[in-house]
């Protein structure tokens, strides 16, 4: 719009332009990421803030024995060698895993990585008598050490890990456990607050500085042991930015050049402003976990009726296409999807099943949170769900709570909340154990595991037993596929949608590949001048 040169706005704009011109130019090659986390993840080992913490702090500073292949976007990520170059089960003992460690790896503080570092880290996670034992990390590590029974050093570059039970999927558990620098921790006399300001790992980025709650900065580790993953940027800056509108505004204003999870209704605006928006399938599930011991969902017909009542296309439309319809515990991209029973939207069938079960009106007491890790947009999505379920004869009564309170329900299990028919929460389906075994296995009945509603099936138990003992990947895949199909037949959840993990970044950000994973590789990103 033309303006007269002597107008007040023009003068104001000129003054502002002078001020802005006086500011130092932004450094080249800096990737500035706005995370969805409300705070900076902790950096003393396994980070907090869920998988976002591992994604941005865990796998930047540290490595694990086993890592995830994040190099491709056209296939679901699976395991690859990390600090261990290979691993196999001891032919003489199916509860003893042998890991060969990588030679020539150095921590950022210069110390060489050896078997002693693995033993030291495992004691830190598990042994209250060791000087390096750190309760917050003990707590964070519990879910990955459920089956861990001990570790021994065979030589400087070979270790053996014993498990309590035979578990062919055990290496997956090791892929979530970053190993920290022993030398740095010892030099700081196990002062973990001091360590948090000077962490040392073997990862592709070195810690530069942190302003608590505000920003964490890293520089590229040019000596990283994997030449393919030496960062192509000079610096990585992480900013916690939980408010979606703020993340979008910060990207549009040029304050950051990469944001997590832009809200679906902002995607068109972002694209119009020249921002790149990417999304991909990944192992995520937005489901209802059900009560199998009491109430309507103890009846298979009612679980199936609820699944037939859901018009998943409406959810995808609500989320502007940034979700895919869900008909099983896992998305079809996973190799053990198979041919699960498909609950296409069929309200007539849903009504007939409810009538057959004699549940009318079929009252459901469901718990949901207003927000939370991976919960997508729980308020509008649950409103839609209620309208669809009520339309076929259900009568949904929601108990709405904050994320922390919902986790208490999750932790308490159906034994503590017997009158609750189900709760809504996202699931991370990175590995088969978390995706389809723990939610249904009897061994994992709450409150000691993820089988919240005490699902039980003789066939599922037999399949899990055989999966645990099957070390041939091809044969195991057949068993896993059958287990997934069984869970759909039994309608073990209310299947709704899979998230598509949208991310947005400036046109100057190049080389990013959106892996089909909760984790992503930032090292390949270049920042154009």
């Amino acid at each position: 719009m033309p303006r007269s040169s002597n107008s007040l706005p023009a003068v104001f704009a000129a003054i502002m332009a002078c001020w802005l011109a006086a500011m130092p130019a932004a450094a080249q090659g800096v990737l500035t990421v706005a995370m969805t986390a409300g705070d900076l993840p902790t950096d003393t080992g396994i980070p907090d803030q869920g998988f976002e913490g591992l994604r941005f702090v865990g796998w930047t500073l540290y490595d694990a024995l086993v890592e995830w292949d994040l190099s491709r976007g056209n296939a679901v990520s699976d395991l690859k060698p990390g600090l261990a170059t290979d691993w196999h089960i001891d032919p003489a003992d199916p509860r003893r895993w042998i890991f060969s460690l990588r030679h020539g790896v150095r921590f950022h503080d210069g110390c060489a990585f050896t078997a002693d570092d693995v033993l030291w880290n495992f004691a830190r996670f598990n042994d209250p008598a060791s000087p390096q034992f750190y309760p917050p990390q003990y707590a964070a590590a519990r879910q990955y050490f459920v089956n861990y029974d001990g570790i021994e050093k065979i030589d400087d570059f070979t270790i053996a890990i014993r498990t309590k039970q035979v578990e062919s999927l055990f290496p997956y558990a090791m892929s979530y456990v970053p190993l920290i620098g022993r030398c740095r921790a010892q030099a700081l006399h196990y002062d973990w607050t001091a360590y948090a300001d000077a962490p040392s790992g073997t990862g592709p980025y070195r810690f530069l500085r942190m302003v608590p709650h505000e920003r964490m900065e890293f520089t590229a580790n040019k000596d990283y042991w994997d030449p393919d993953r030496v960062p192509r940027q000079d610096r990585l800056v992480l900013l916690p930015m939980p408010e979606p509108a703020t993340r979008v505004a910060a990207l549009l204003a040029g304050q950051v050049n990469f944001i997590e999870a832009p809200p679906p209704d902002a995607v068109e605006v972002l694209k119009r402003r020249g921002v790149h928006v990417v999304s991909n399938d990944y192992p995520h599930s937005w489901v209802y976990t059900l009560n199998f011991t009491k109430g309507p969902f103890a009846d298979l017909r009612i679980r199936q009726a609820a699944n037939y009542a859901i018009d998943r296309a409406q959810f995808v439309a609500l989320l502007h296409g940034l979700a895919t319809e869900e008909y099983a515990q896992i998305p079809p991209t996973l190799p053990y999807y198979g041919h699960p029973r498909r609950y296409d939207y069929d309200p007539a069938k849903a009504k007939a099943l409810l009538t057959e079960a004699g549940c009318s009106p079929c009252v459901l007491h469901l718990a949901m949170s207003t927000s939370g890790s991976g919960q997508m947009q729980p308020l509008p999505m649950n409103e839609l769900l209620k309208s669809q379920l009520d339309a076929v004869g259900f009568q949904v009564d929601f108990q709405v709570m904050d994320w922390n309170a919902l986790i208490q329900i999750l932790r308490g299990g159906v034994g503590k909340y017997p009158d609750l028919d189900g709760w809504n929460g996202a699931r991370a389906l990175m590995d088969p154990a978390n995706a389809i075994i723990k939610p249904v296995g009897r061994e994992f009945w709450s409150p000691f595991g993820m089988n919240w509603g005490h699902y039980s099936s003789a066939e599922a138990e037999e399949l899990i037993r055989r999966i645990d003992g099957e070390f041939d990947p091809d044969k195991r895949l057949i068993l896993l596929t059958r287990l997934n199909e069984l869970e759909s037949e039994d309608a073990t959840s209310l299947f709704v949608v899979h998230d598509m993990e949208p991310r947005a970044f400036s046109a100057k950000v190049e080389g990013y590949v959106e892996a089909q994973s909760w984790f992503q590789d930032l090292t390949r990103i270049r920042i154009a001048p």
Partner: protein, 318 residues
């Protein structure tokens, strides 16, 4: 005056203690667990017991409170469950960031609020009064987070004049208020935060000025031939005690931090810290922050009381 000050200081002690007990109890009554942020959802009871012991949550509640109080008296507010850093360091750092906002938001609110209120009160019943009162009511009624988002859209994403988020390009530890590159980060949060106090102060000032202008002594002043400016000076002096009380309360509101505004701008202040601590059930941080804020609030009100009594000795006698 000294006796008055002493009494007020003695009164402040039980108030602070009471606030700390209420905050401590409320956090424990709320659903959720303080161990939530450190334990995975499927942690075994043994793991939960070990962590509860490590953080002292295995003690009975009254004992937990007494132990906490004992440490507080030694200057130790404990360790944050979420960040594993000393709570005192966390709270004082965030308090200084919020005080920085308050340093600008309070004068802005006082100047504009008193100005608008005095102008409206001096012309009570006129069109000017109605317009100014309308502005004040709008200020009170507009949600500050809504205004914050609108200003971000206008000044940051459209005009690209001001930054959206954070406290300086390198964080609060490198923030210098007199450096424009940093100071520009203050503008949007300060304006958003000062909006409600402007409205409240303006309304209070208008009411006080309008009421005092109807008093006999104003008529006398006018009869003696004083000009309107001189009369307003007398009126404002008499109207000051209630206005000061409101300013004190608003200062407390700003120091407590606005969770919404600080979250939108990712400003690392007390509101932001408290918001995160409440969500994470980070009890040591919630307790420490509430205690420090209540002390600041009590001290602020004490200073306002002293100021009021200095201006109007009748208050001291009362």
């Amino acid at each position: 005056m000294l006796k008055f000050l002493l009494f007020r200081l003695i009164y402040a002690v039980p108030i602070v203690l009471g606030v700390s007990i209420v905050c401590f109890s409320l956090v424990h009554i709320a659903p959720g667990s303080p161990l939530q942020s450190v334990l995975p959802p499927d942690a075994s009871p043994e793991a939960a017991a070990l962590i509860a012991h490590a953080y002292g949550f295995d003690q009975p509640l009254p004992m937990q409170y007494l132990l906490w109080l004992l440490h507080v008296l030694q200057g130790d507010l404990g360790l944050s469950i979420a960040s594993h850093r000393p709570v005192a360091q966390e709270v004082l750092g965030s308090l200084s960031n919020t005080l920085l906002l308050a340093e600008f938001a309070v004068p802005l609110a006082v100047l504009l609020g008193c100005g608008l209120g005095a102008a409206a009160g001096s012309s009570a019943g006129t069109s000017l009064d109605r317009v100014l009162t309308g502005i004040a009511v709008t200020g009170i009624s507009l949600p500050s987070y809504w205004l914050a988002i609108i200003m971000v859209m206008l000044f940051s994403t459209e005009l690209m004049l001001l930054p959206v988020t954070g406290m300086g390009s390198a964080g609060s530890t490198d923030f210098h208020v007199w450096r424009w590159a940093d100071a520009r980060y203050l503008i949007l949060p300060v304006v958003s935060l000062s909006l409600i106090p402007i409205g409240i102060i303006a309304r209070t000032t208008r009411a006080a000025v309008a009421e005092i202008r109807r008093m006999d002594f104003v008529l006398t002043l006018r009869a003696k031939g004083l000009g309107e400016i001189a009369i307003l000076r007398h009126v404002l002096k008499n109207a000051l005690p209630p206005i000061l009380a409101v300013i004190g309360l608003q200062f407390g509101y700003l120091v407590g931090g606005s969770i919404l505004v600080e979250t939108i701008f990712t400003w690392p202040g007390t509101g932001s810290l408290l918001g995160k601590a409440i969500i994470n059930r980070d009890i040591p941080t919630v307790q420490g922050a509430m205690l420090v804020l209540s002390v600041v609030f009590v001290i602020t009100n004490l200073l306002i009381d002293l100021l009021q009594s200095a201006i109007d000795p009748r208050i001291r006698r009362g």
